[in-house]
Amino acid sequence: MQYTVGISEMKISSNPQDVLVTYSLGSCVGLALYDPQAKVGGLIHCMLPLSKIDEARAVQNPCMFTDTGVPLMMQALFDLGAERRRIVAKVAGAAKLLDDSNTFRIGERNHVVLRKILWKNNILIAAEDVGGTVARTMYVHLDTGATIIKSAGREYELA
């Protein structure tokens, strides 16, 4: 079955028949984590980099922020039997508007925070498609971990 991951949401699954999809990644970051041996994976769509800007909202909805959402998804996958050393990470999004005014540079900040968290957790990014002024849709297939990006009329595998 196909499950939609909305903005500030995550979904995890251990059913190889499932496909997880998130639409319209702008400056948000989409992160797919997959353990090919345990065949468990997850997809998260984080909107903002750091939860400290609104801690009450981060308690209500940790997946809104990269720094609180990503560790939550990692833990949920470990609980399903995933192992850190086997996890494959793929990243999409972090797009930007045409002009880079610092006030609006959310994509870049999201990307920096995400890389830092993954690095701290000893998870390498296997492939990523970030930046530019395009919106992206991201699919994760739970049977193989294949991650597909649709953007500006094109479709390609992130590998």
Partner: protein, 286 residues
């Protein structure tokens, strides 16, 4: 006839709003509108009344209260708020359809319009500036020109995207290049033909060039900033992508810092999700 004139001619052929909404618009302009006038204008329009009540019951407007009748909504929220909700409900049916020319699926533009209406108001509140009461409505209608171009005229958004991409110009500048007019100007022309208040028309016209908005500069800055934040987080982004330019000095004029921008973005999404839950209780595609 130029493509621009052709488009402007079509605008005048677009059906008017429902009578109840037109009546509400006239009331917005009047200084002395009371609750009973509003009730009279919409009480016979059952679906409009139902939409207004659903909106009124979302946390953004009502907080934790439960509002069960139009009269109660009027007392709790005030006449100005009810008028905004009437107008919002009137554009729901047309804004929730897919916008073909811009490659927007059903409900995506409506989500964007609501996000910008909420975001502009929220920004004003947090920046502690005094904003006109029609800021919400201006935000809600800012992209109505996209409905005209994308639905009634079915312009080829892909051709516009290519021009924007190749020349590294913003999408509305590419619209100007290809069509001789952009969605902001088309929206303003439509709202003029609906005889909406001049302030709203000017904000819609200049929402991509707020520095040109004259007397409406502050509201145009707020709507523009909320629009850019909403586009950044991918709300209502179709073929145009993130190909938009932030108006020069908008952040400086508003004294808008990155932290506040992010706080408003977070609030905008949360409130939008609450309204969405009220409108589509069964869930549906996000």
């Amino acid at each position: 006839m130029s493509r621009r004139d052709e488009i402007l001619n079509k605008v005048s052929a677009i059906p008017a709003l429902p009578a109840s909404a037109t009546q509400a618009i006239r009331l917005i302009q009047s200084e002395t509108t009371g609750l009973s006038d509003i009730m009279k204008a919409i009480e016979y329009d059952v679906s409009l009344t139902a939409d207004v009540l659903r909106l009124a019951n979302s946390a953004y407007f009502a907080g934790p209260r439960q509002i069960s009748s139009l009269r109660e909504a009027g007392v709790l929220l005030g006449a100005a708020r009810i008028l905004q909700l009437v107008l919002a409900s009137a554009v729901f049916p047309v804004a929730s359809r897919p916008i073909k020319g811009y490659d927007l699926p059903a409900n995506d533009l409506l989500d964007h319009l609501l996000a910008v209406a909420i975001g502009a108001e929220e920004l004003g509140k947090r920046l502690r500036v005094s904003v006109p009461h029609y800021t919400f409505t201006a935000g809600l209608l800012h992209d109505i020109g996209k409905i005209v171009l994308g639905t009634f005229l079915e312009v080829d958004g892909e051709a516009i995207r290519q021009v924007a991409f190749e020349e590294q110009i913003s999408f509305e500048a590419a619209e100007d290049r290809v069509l001789g007019i952009n969605h902001a100007e088309v929206g303003a022309a439509l709202l003029e033909s609906w005889q909406l208040p001049e302030g709203i028309v000017q904000v819609v016209r200049w929402h991509h060039s707020p520095e040109l908005a004259g007397a409406e500069a502050l509201t145009a800055d707020l709507v523009h900033a909320a629009d850019m934040l909403s586009i950044e987080c991918g709300l209502g982004v179709g073929v145009d992508g993130l190909n938009y330019r932030i108006g020069p000095d908008v952040a400086e004029r508003l004294r808008l810092k990155a932290t506040l921008a992010e706080q408003v973005t977070a609030a905008m999404l949360t409130e939008l999700q609450a309204i969405r839950a009220q409108r589509r209780p069964t869930g549906g595609a996000a």
